[in-house]
């Protein structure tokens, strides 16, 4: 019943079925046509992989095998692939939204390894393949709300973080999960600027990490993550502001105390640890009562503003975790 007071998505927000299906045809056509053109274009050769604003999906990125679709998904109109991959906050590649797509061609997400550390029975350094192997991939279409007051609807491909965590058997001392991004100043030009205290860090309370909504993501729109979206592995926590979704994860640590997080370290009064989407708690600069939805063709100037929902509309799944907490205090 917690959805009672929220507006249903308007019929105009929903992508018509024929168009939605045609998307796959276009894909198939491109899948057949493009590989021939790309012979000799290794993903590492400099410049070749530079993003030249693809209108549809970048088929140079491998298509993923999706075992399951639909859980917790929304039917709201999706953001275009081009917008979701060319409007990014990923300060490791620069502070403007266009920078990550422009400056991430040199970044090498393969080979990749992830260190698992802290209060768990199984720890150590694992290759990405070892991390991913046991997990069938699932597509989930989530709303993504940025603290800056805009939002998108993105079909992510990944698996539940809870399934990954279970493999490492965290001990009872593990109260929080701390994530650390990779630090590679030579491949990430933005790290030359001390805009944040590198490497980027994020964290979740254990129950938040174990919530079925919390996703480890390896792709979007059916294809592997482009560098600018956090390849090869990132976090997506749909009821929290986008900055919680740490990208290019290099380390996961189970800890007893609440970990410090990058934006909280930069401006404690503006970015809380929990960072749950909350229309009642305003940011000093951006209103959180409403948001500008970036979806569809991207060219509809009017009527993009919608009401922001508590927990970004996922209250039914997550609100109980915060009962008894003053979320205006613990924002």
């Amino acid at each position: 019943m917690s959805f009672r007071k929220f507006p249903e998505p308007r019929p105009s927000d929903v992508t018509p079925q024929p168009i939605y299906e045609r998307r796959r045809e276009v894909l198939k056509l491109l899948g057949l046509a493009i590989p021939g053109l790309l012979v000799g274009c290794s993903p590492d050769s400099n410049g070749q992989t530079a993003q030249t604003a693809p209108a549809v999906i970048d088929t140079r990125l491998p298509e993923l095998t999706i075992a399951k679709r639909g859980a917790f998904s929304t039917t709201e109109a999706q953001t275009s692939y081009n917008d979701a991959t060319h409007y990014n906050n990923f300060y490791e590649f620069g502070t403007s939204k266009a920078d990550p797509a422009r400056n991430s061609a040199r970044f090498k997400p393969h080979p990749w390894s992830i260190e698992i550390a802290g209060e768990a029975e199984v720890t150590g350094t694992f290759t990405l393949e070892d991390i991913l192997k046991p997990h069938p991939l699932e597509e989930r279409i989530y709303r993504m709300r940025c603290v800056e007051g805009w939002s998108m609807v993105i079909p992510w491909v990944g698996f539940q973080l809870s399934d990954l965590i279970a493999r490492f058997k965290p001990t009872s001392a593990a109260k929080y999960v701390a994530f650390t991004s990779v630090e590679r100043p030579r491949e990430m030009p933005g790290q030359a600027d001390a805009v944040l205290d590198w490497p980027y860090r994020e964290g979740l309370r254990m129950d938040e990490a174990m919530n079925p909504l919390t996703l480890m993501v390896v792709g979007l729109y059916g294809h592997a993550l482009p560098n600018q979206n956090g390849a090869p592995l990132r976090l997506v926590v749909p009821w929290k502001y986008g900055f919680k979704g740490i990208k290019s994860i290099a380390r996961i640590e189970f800890v007893e105390k609440q970990p410090r997080t990058a934006w909280n370290l930069a401006a404690r009064s503006e970015y809380g640890f929990f960072a749950n989407v909350n229309p009642e708690v305003d940011h000093p600069r951006w209103t959180q009562a409403t948001e500008r939805r970036i979806s569809g063709s991207g060219f509809n100037l009017l009527g993009n503003r919608i009401l922001t929902q508590p927990f970004n509309g996922y209250g039914e799944q997550v609100a109980s975790m915060y009962s008894g907490m003053d979320l205006k205090q613990d924002f």
Binding site: T95, V195, A266, P284
Partner: protein, 224 residues
């Protein structure tokens, strides 16, 4: 009967047209869908940028005139000032109509709660009396008060730059280069006026000294 050709007057339509180029450019990019992923934010940023640029251009006339002794420059000042107001109004309208859209009444809470919007809105409000009193008739009618009133432009400039500085995402170390450039230019433009202000101040204190007042009213103290 041959009038001297007034070059300044003749050039004004061209300057006027030049001031409209940013608007035309914005309109063109809007119609050709070239504003990128978040077109509303682009419209806001670009109209805001041009407001500040024209405001600083207006403020640059006096120091430039002083330094170059080119007095004709002053004849463009009103046009730049009015265009600054015009772009500020475009900027406001985009925010209110396009961005806030159906939630336009949200502007009241924004003005009250977001410092950068408070100063931005204040700057726009203060520009209204200056625009209204920019006609020849008003200048004549207001006399010396006209100049007093129009000193508001310094405060408007400061509020405009603060509006930009405070809206930029900032942690402890986030660089805010672009607004700082505007702030730097504003400070230089105001600093260049300091000699003029000092001179005026000295003239006024001299005028208001007991001796000079006595002289003016024809009073001579008994023991003088």
């Amino acid at each position: 009967m041959a009038h001297r050709f007034d070059r300044i007057a003749a050039s004004k339509p061209f300057v006027f047209a030049a001031c409209l180029i940013p608007l035309a450019w914005l309109a063109w990019d809007t119609l050709s869908n070239a504003l990128g992923t978040d077109p509303v934010a682009q419209l806001e940023h670009r109209s805001g940028d041009w407001t500040l640029r024209l405001l600083l251009t207006t403020l640059a006339i006096t120091p430039l005139r002083m330094l170059t002794k080119q007095n004709w420059l002053i004849r463009y000042r009103r046009m730049f000032g009015l265009f600054a107001f015009f772009y500020a109004s475009v900027h406001m309208s985009i925010y209110l109509i396009v961005d806030l859209g159906g939630f336009w009444s949200q502007i009241f809470t924004e003005i009250a709660k977001k410092p950068y919007i408070t100063v931005g809105f204040a700057a726009w409000l203060m520009m209204i009396p200056l625009a209204v009193t920019s006609t020849k008739g008003m200048i004549r009618r207001l006399g010396r008060n006209w100049q007093r009133l129009h000193r508001l432009v310094y405060l408007i400039g400061l509020c405009g730059v603060l509006h930009f500085m405070w809206l930029v995402k900032s942690g402890n170390k986030i660089a805010v280069t672009e607004p700082l450039i505007y702030l730097g230019i504003l400070i230089v433009l105001l600093a260049l006026r300091v000699p003029i202000w000092l001179k005026q101040l000295r003239a006024r204190t001299a005028r208001n000294s007991p001796q000079s007042i006595n002289r003016r009213v024809g009073f001579s103290p008994p023991n003088a």
